[in-house]
């Protein structure tokens, strides 16, 4: 009996200490969660310190979960140590501070970014973390720092250091019609071209490790699927034929790619092994089946089928069985993307003659329209499902846009004045 009580006590003590550590300041999973008042002070370290703080502010701001303050009202200067009394009168609940210094390591001269998050109410530090990196990736490091702030407050992983791939015209040569694949940070910065150009290029898809992209291209009247290694920019053709071979999502194993191909007649869904380059059919039908997308578990695949005469969103299990229709509203629903968690699907639907981005539960309930201006297509979830990138022509040329998953905060991400489309989001 005594033993039981003691063990119970021990467990209680352990649990309570864990709970204290994992305090969640805002439960962002609850609808209508309030915005938490947070102050991000310019980091110590001149211009660079300011830049880091700006990027963190911008990342936190777009998440929609924070209310930020103009730094002109801050009483506490960057080089002063944290004092809760400086923040209480302003109504600030959390304070982010940090320093950026140049240090010499085995890597040569690198930046060291130190970051702290303070809870004003309890006057305690809830996070201390440091990053070391070359100055050339200052933006990436700042995004990683923003992730740690976000994680320390919400208890959830941030996506601020993930990337978006898309297809676009040449940024520097106006005399070519070729299309290129680019990657950029989640905030539209650091746009980099990763291919040499093809006549026609379709939406790229990231491998789960974020180190390669698979995409469909046209060459001499054949459709090929290319796998490009983003470390070396070397590419390898996985499949090429006269059939319509169209890249879909990678399976979670990173070795198999879901594709659709008309190699046996009509476009059906296959698993393409990127190592052995062999194709395994997931279904064999007389209907168009295309645009396969899967969640982190890989247990289900969402795709488009015209089996009921119009293109609609369907789900099947990973071996191609147990097919069921998800969308019943409207006569043209295409381009589905499964959320990483496997709960939600985004897709594009024709509504009143225009394409709009829609979100729906995988069981077909809770359908919501996220866009309304112009044509909006090709939606793709962020890894945490909180944001969606898509293509919109609302300002004329097609551009890559981002929105929160409730339809707020819509803005252009791709560079100005070029046609950009086919976005997809990396998991890492």
């Amino acid at each position: 009996m005594m033993k039981k009580i003691i063990i119970l006590m021990v467990l209680l003590i352990c649990f309570s200490s864990v709970t204290v550590q994992a305090k969640v300041y805002i439960d962002i999973t609850s609808p209508g969660a309030r915005q938490i008042p947070i102050a991000v002070v310019d980091f110590e370290g001149e211009d660079i310190g300011r830049q880091v703080a700006d990027i963190i502010r911008s990342d936190l701001d777009y998440s929609g979960f924070f209310r930020q303050f103009d730094k002109s009202v801050f009483v506490e200067k960057p080089n002063q140590s944290f004092d809760a009394q400086n923040w209480k009168p302003l109504g600030v609940e959390l304070v982010v501070k940090g320093t950026v210094e140049t240090i010499t390591t085995a890597m040569g001269k690198v930046l060291k970014v130190n970051i702290s998050v303070f809870d004003v109410f309890s006057s305690t530090r809830i996070l201390t973390k440091s990053f070391q990196a070359r100055e050339s990736i200052l933006r990436l490091v700042s995004h990683k720092a923003a992730n740690s702030v976000y994680e320390s407050i919400t208890g959830l992983s941030g996506v601020f250091d993930t990337k978006i791939a898309f297809v676009a015209d040449d940024l520097s040569n106006r005399y070519t019609n070729k299309k290129y694949i680019y990657i950029m940070d989640w905030d539209g910065e650091r746009v980099r071209k990763v291919t040499d150009g093809d006549n026609i290029v379709m939406r790229p898809h990231w491998s789960p490790d974020g180190l390669s992209l698979a995409y469909t291209f046209e060459k001499s009247k054949r459709w090929g699927i290319n796998l490009i290694d983003l470390k070396t920019l070397q590419s390898e053709i996985l499949l090429i034929s006269q059939a319509a071979n169209i890249t879909g999502d990678f399976a979670p194993d990173g070795e198999n790619l879901l594709i659709s191909s008309s190699i046996k007649g009509i476009s059906n869904i296959y698993r393409l092994n990127t190592k052995s380059k062999t194709l395994s059919p997931l279904s064999s039908t007389y209907n168009i089946e295309t645009s396969p997308s899967t969640s982190s578990s890989g247990s289900e695949i969402v795709y488009v089928s015209d089996q009921d005469s119009t293109p609609q969103i369907f789900i099947m299990d990973k071996e191609g069985n147990n097919k069921r229709r998800v969308t019943f509203s409207g006569s043209y629903n295409t381009s589905p993307n499964f959320s990483y968690s496997g709960e939600k699907i985004v897709y594009s639907a024709i509504i009143g003659g225009k394409f709009q981005v829609m979100m729906i539960n995988k069981d077909g309930t809770n359908m919501v329209q996220l866009t309304s201006e112009g044509n909006n297509e090709e939606p793709y979830f962020s890894p945490d499902g909180r944001y969606v990138v898509f293509t919109s022509d609302r300002f004329g040329n097609k551009s890559v846009f981002i929105t929160r998953n409730d339809g707020t905060g819509q803005k252009v991400l791709s560079p100005n004045k070029i046609r950009a489309f086919g976005p997809s989001w990396s998991l890492k």
Binding site: I7, R125, K129, S130, L230, A244, I246, S262, I288
Partner: protein
């Protein structure tokens, strides 16, 4: 009973140590993470934002370059209804003429190229263009053209002949276009 109590106390102390260790990971000793960019394509020029790109370039790509320079065909395009791939009755005369030509010119091979209008997603339209091309091929085969004389290819909506955003244009884009790939008599 006493023994159990002693063991329990020791256990309690061990657990508390364990708990204390967990808490010690908090503040003051910052974990340093070395951040690297694993993907860093340096060989390509980076795209500069705001770069002034000629506006004309933003128009849709017209006919693909590969199409130019090939033998022009004695065949005329076959048109389709929106989101459909079945052969319309007004296309049957065109296809009869095409099959007559193919049967008479045994050396000729053709490619049937399926196209779609701008509405709809690229991927679905690629599959639809393919279905249109194959539907034309099946029809020609049913009229007696050997199956190995006809190849198919889909451009989806990627090679439009008409770029207005109206039905007058869309109907022209929903087509199967023929290209003589070998033995054209013209």
């Amino acid at each position: 009973m006493k023994k159990i109590f002693t063991i329990s106390v020791i256990l309690l102390m061990m657990f508390m140590l364990g708990c204390a260790k967990k808490q010690a990971t908090a503040p003051d000793k910052p974990a340093t993470e070395v951040a690297k960019e694993e993907i860093l394509p340096q060989t390509n020029d980076s795209g500069n934002r705001g770069l002034d790109v000629d506006k004309d370039k933003n128009k849709n790509v017209k006919t693909d370059e590969a199409v130019k320079g090939e033998t022009s065909t004695p065949f005329t395009d076959v048109y389709f209804d929106y989101d459909k791939s079945d052969i319309k009755s007004d296309a049957k005369a065109t296809l009869k003429a095409a099959s007559d030509y193919m049967i008479a010119n045994t050396a000729a091979t053709i490619s049937a190229e399926g196209h779609c209008d701008e509405r709809g997603t690229s991927e679905y339209n690629m599959a639809l263009g393919d279905k249109r091309a194959k539907s034309v091929k099946d029809y020609l085969v049913s009229l007696g053209v050997p199956t190995d004389k006809i190849s198919t290819f889909s451009y989806g909506k990627e090679a439009q002949v008409c770029t207005e955003h109206a039905e007058s244009c869309w109907s022209k884009n929903r087509r199967v276009h023929f290209v003589v790939t070998k033995g054209g008599s013209k």
